[in-house]
Symmetry: C2
Subunit: 215 residues, 2 copies
DNA sequence: GTATCTTAAATTGGCGCCAATATTGGTAAC
DNA sequence: GTTACCAATATTGGCGCCAATTTAAGATAC
């Protein structure tokens, strides 16, 4: 009716609701266990009921939220066992194509990776938590892409979200973040040196970092 | 109101629509490329419009059907490259836990596997295409379960559907099916003999079978 | 004062309608 | 006879309402 738009953010409102909820879960704005009432989401993201429902259904298919019939949806409470198992899967998949990555690495791709690693470091200081998360994702995607298996790249991106429900606790200490940044550069070094074994070792270490508990 | 139930088949009607469509795609009743008109599905599975919509949305999330805005949904046309890549992923994942499988194998679990392998052979002769498919799935699930990684078992089951969009072409020849049945038993033999390397070789061979083209 | 039953509010979830868009068939013009 | 345009039909997809179930609160009885 009137030209007055509630909220100044007119542009980003047009994005997909599923993405928005996903981001808020990943960034920790919606902590694990939070009940996602349809009315609240409707207002929060300024969207309709069916849109909210579709988003919740999709996220429950991805195992990011749990659905209790006639009770509603809540953010999935990640159990340690599953987190460890998914970590193991990631190590298996990402180290499996290390030889390919070394074989396919060109000076161009290495330069691109350096840029992405630097961008990650930059976001550590100046970026939002979301930008930081996505910078990390972009680096790993580009690295994996050298493996030559597109389906594998997509799959890893997918299962990555499956445990990152507790991103805040994973990335809590600045020391750990900076260590991750350094490891990125070390991976590129190993790639440049055509040292596949060292690359595998670094990847495994990098992924297992959060669960690096001495049993 | 009245006790009269339309249609004698009261039981199977109550199942989830997504499952039903999925099965019909997997068994080849809905061939690749088929346009899935909402009205048709509504009548075919005797369900409501929203149910059909939700099923189509879920299947498109799983990449089993493709969605063209304002045009509709159609069964995904599997491209060879993706099929090969997914095959490679399965080889990576399933061979990665071969050592664990050998380590965790007990006489009990081997007996269970023998039973499942025999059941598969049985279904080759007497079962429907769906029963046959599920018997194969059950065997591989039980085998993978010995790896000790539940998340990996689920993941493999998931990505398995991702290429089996052309199940008919994969399992077309009886000779190949019988070869698969024999390989199941050979895997159990390797497991019993605690021969992890042979098991890996067999698994890789078994998975790559359909794409066994001499380059 | 506490526990339990009853009643009211809120939330979920199923269902159908209607507008927007694409497709098909027909007609007219070239 | 063929092509292009237009209209009618069919299909998709957004949206809101209402019933079923659950939860919370209040009142009454013990």
């Amino acid at each position: 009716m009137s030209e007055v738009q509630s909220k100044t953010a007119v542009g980003p409102e047009e994005r997909d609701v599923t993405e928005l909820v996903l981001q808020d879960i990943l960034t920790g704005m919606l902590p694990a266990g939070t009940w996602l009432k349809q009315i609240d989401l409707e207002r929060r993201y300024d969207c309709t009921r069916p849109e909210v429902r579709r988003a919740l259904d999709r996220l429950s298919q991805k195992r990011l939220v749990a659905h209790v019939p006639n009770r509603g949806y809540h953010v999935y409470q990640p159990d340690d066992r599953n987190a460890r198992e998914v970590g193991d899967i990631r190590v298996i998949l990402e180290t499996a194509v290390a030889d390919m990555m070394v074989a396919n690495a060109t000076s161009d791709s290495i330069a691109t990776l350096r840029g992405l690693a630097r961008y990650f470091d930059e976001m550590t200081l100046t970026g939002t938590i979301l930008e930081h998360y996505e910078a990390n994702l972009a680096f790993h995607r580009e690295l994996l892409l050298l493996g030559g298996n597109q389906a594998l790249v997509d799959l890893v991106s997918e299962i990555r979200q499956r445990t990152s429900s507790a991103p805040v606790s994973q990335w809590r200490t600045r020391a750990r973040i900076e260590k991750s940044g350094r490891e990125h550069h070390m991976m590129i070094d190993a790639l440049e040196a055509r040292n596949a074994e060292e690359l595998k070792r670094l990847i495994a270490l990098h992924i297992r970092q959060p669960a690096d508990t001495p049993k």
